[in-house]
């Protein structure tokens, strides 16, 4: 082919794109929009549709007939309410524990530490994310076991390991998600001008007062931003609770058991809509704090 023609076509194409900014934008945005639309919203839609189907109780085949049975079971059987409340409570406690632990660390990183120490601390905080989730969860299983590290450490104080259960789950999840809380708070506090702290102290406020009236209100959106991560990650978790949770089950386990064991995909889909709804409510509430601008 004559290279001149090729070049001419290339020019025409770029000229067309130049003349039509809308087309340009469209081409640029189509792939990511498709990704978001098909892979993400499409999957959510498929999930919701599946939750309205039934299942043959014997062979486990999905039956494509519309039914609300799954949702009726979900609302009528007390056990699912209990599990939902347990999951919510666990996620909330994990978030609170993380917030309480993360805030002083983030404050020190942002306002006290020298730039060198600051960099080292950021690396240290992110370092656990390099190790596999499973390794960390199983490490906690070992530590929390009978005659494990925790029981050995607690023995001199007359205490014992909490054993496998909800406490162990909360400890493990709080440990796993801590970096996701520290980093947003750290970023939020970094943006807080030092001059505000100086002004507060010049006006006679003690450090406690400054913390309450200046730092906390300004860091609050960052805190909420971090809580979105810790809360949603805990809501969906089912592995940690299997490893250290003893006999407890969370929403994720019910989904897992219905997919993996009972092979009841429609019911699993119905259960999976619960965390989606809870997160939507949570995000709507969070939007008012302006935390979404902090992500």
């Amino acid at each position: 082919m004559d290279p001149g023609v090729d070049r001419g076509q290339g020019l025409t194409l770029s000229a067309t794109l130049h003349r039509h900014p809308g087309l340009r934008l469209g081409l640029l945005l189509t792939p990511p929009m498709l990704w978001l639309g098909v892979a993400y919203l499409g999957a959510l839609g498929a999930l919701f549709i599946t939750s309205l189907w039934g299942q043959d109780s014997f062979t486990g085949e999905v039956q494509r007939v519309w039914t609300l049975d799954n949702f009726r079971d979900l609302f009528q059987l007390e056990v699912y309410r209990t599990i939902t409340m347990r999951t919510l409570g666990t996620a909330a406690l994990v978030t609170i524990v993380d917030a309480v632990v993360a805030f002083p660390i983030a404050l020190y990183m942002a306002k006290v530490a020298s730039p060198r120490v600051q960099r080292l601390l950021v690396i240290a905080v992110l370092m656990p994310l390099w190790a596999s989730y499973l390794v960390k969860a199983f490490a906690w299983r070992g530590m929390l076991s009978e005659r494990g590290l925790v029981s050995w450490l607690a023995a001199p104080f007359g205490l014992d390991t909490p054993g496998y259960g909800l406490t162990a789950t909360i400890i493990t999840l709080a440990y796993l998600w801590l970096p996701f809380m520290i980093i947003p708070i750290y970023a939020g506090l970094e943006r807080l001008p030092d001059s505000l702290l100086e002004a507060s102290s010049d006006l006679g406020a003690r450090s406690g007062h400054t913390m309450r009236r200046v730092v906390l209100p300004m860091a609050f959106p960052a805190l909420v931003a971090g809580s979105i991560f810790t809360f949603s990650l805990s809501m969906g978790d089912y592995i940690a609770v299997r490893i250290v949770g003893g006999t407890n089950q969370m929403l994720g386990n019910v989904v897992y058991d219905n997919v993996g064991a009972a092979n009841n995909l429609p019911f699993a889909a119905a259960v999976a809509t619960i965390p989606v709804v809870i997160m939507l409510v949570y995000l709507a509430a969070v939007r008012r704090t302006g935390a979404l601008d902090n992500l």
Partner: protein, 398 residues
């Protein structure tokens, strides 16, 4: 075994066509009632060239290639003899087996009685031409043509062996040695908080078996055939037990670990788990309590969409050969299906597991899928089916 049970299942199977007292006018499959119609699938007429590979879905310990323990390897000899390269995947519960097998990625599966009928009904496995399996002729006759491995006299697989769920405990922590299942079900156990149980709806049958012995007024005849009231009683037993359970197990390595650390000291187990734990110097002992137990009688089945059926048949023939059947029976701790295997197992093995002892085998309540038609032959009530059991199990765990 039990005539009534056979009859009930036969009824369940024949319900669509003939209707044992229940009418199904339109003559099509009634998918809701727990009855099932068997898809009409062809079986292999003759064997051809081996395909060179086979994908095996098995209970842990059923297909050992020496990677866990070099002393236990009956897969490599199979590969050498047939040229079929075996890839092995293990599962922890029958439900998991059914789900995995439905993906169509596997050629052959070791299905227990609570999985086999479901696989037959859904058309995931096809009938097996037992004439093409040389070693089939040697298998104990009482394992053939049973209600969990055949339909209307047509075998859907090759019997593998059978065994019982055992009661295991740590000898250094549990004294005196327990003799009955009541040690894991009765409230106020001194080992509360350190009891373990099997994490599957089928475990409800263990509670039902316990009730059979302790509460005769419930009139439970068959632990897989419970009406709503009997199921409720079993659920209550399990809820009492739950308060004393440290954790449930379905991954057998998780149970080994829990017994090693002492987080669990007593609970239900398989012989193979006891063997692994003993191999790691954990002081455990496992027994079959006097009141009997639930257990399994497994069948190797061939996938209907398998592309390696010749290799699948070769595997089925291999696993019931005297050598392999002896090795697997000894390793897993169960009775072999092939009496000739008893000449090759260590001394006393076949006596311990009462191989070939039909009366003993009848004391084991083999895993069976509960269906709406009561397996004990009652016709005046509806029994609870497996989906109800699944729901009940979620409720027990809370």
């Amino acid at each position: 075994m039990r005539k009534t049970q056979l009859f009930a299942t036969a009824c369940a199977l024949a319900l669509v066509a003939a209707g044992c007292g229940t009418s199904d006018d339109n003559g099509t499959t009634s998918k809701t009632g727990g009855t099932f119609e068997v898809p009409d699938l062809p079986m292999l007429d003759s064997l051809g060239e081996n395909e060179g590979k086979v994908s095996i879905l098995a209970w842990p310990g059923y297909a050992e290639d020496g990677s866990a323990d070099p002393a236990y390897d009956w897969v490599t000899p199979f590969e050498k003899a047939t040229g079929c390269q075996a890839s092995i995947k293990t599962f922890g519960t029958s439900d998991e087996a059914v789900t995995l097998f439905k993906t169509g990625d596997y050629d052959v599966v070791s299905a227990s009685g609570d999985a086999s009928l479901r696989l037959i009904a859904s058309g995931d496995v096809e009938p097996v031409n037992t004439d093409l399996v040389d070693n089939y002729a040697d298998i104990y006759p009482f394992l053939k043509d049973r209600d969990w491995n055949s339909v209307d006299g047509q075998m859907y697989g090759v019997p593998h062996g059978y065994g019982a769920n055992l009661l295991m405990w740590r000898t250094d922590e549990v004294q005196p040695a327990p003799t009955s299942w009541s040690s894991v079900f009765e409230a106020g156990s001194p080992y509360a908080g350190k009891i373990t149980a099997y994490d599957s709806p089928i475990y409800i049958a263990d509670a039902a078996l316990y009730l059979m012995n302790t509460q005769p007024d419930l009139a439970i005849e068959h632990p897989y055939s419970l009406d709503e009231e009997q199921l409720q009683a079993a659920i209550d037993v399990l809820k009492v037990q739950k308060e004393m359970v440290s954790e449930y197990w379905s991954d057998y390595l998780k149970e080994v670990q829990a017994f090693t650390t002492g987080d669990s000291v007593i609970g239900t187990t398989w012989q193979v788990i006891a063997n692994v734990a003993e191999g790691e110097n954990v002081p455990v002992e496992a027994i079959l309590p006097d009141e009997g137990s639930t257990g399994w009688s497994d069948t190797w089945m061939v996938g209907a969409t398998s592309e390696n059926k010749n290799c699948a048949y070769a595997w089925m023939n291999h696993i019931v050969s005297p050598e392999a059947n002896a090795a697997v029976a000894e390793y897993f701790g169960e009775s072999p299906a092939n009496p000739k295997a008893c000449d090759l197992t260590s001394k006393g093995h076949c006596e311990t597991f009462h191989a070939g002892d039909e009366a003993y085998a009848d004391k084991i309540w083999y895993w069976t899928t509960p269906i709406e038609q009561c397996l004990d032959g009652r016709t005046d009530v509806k029994c609870t089916d497996y989906s109800r059991w699944t729901q009940a199990w979620t409720e027990v765990k809370g």
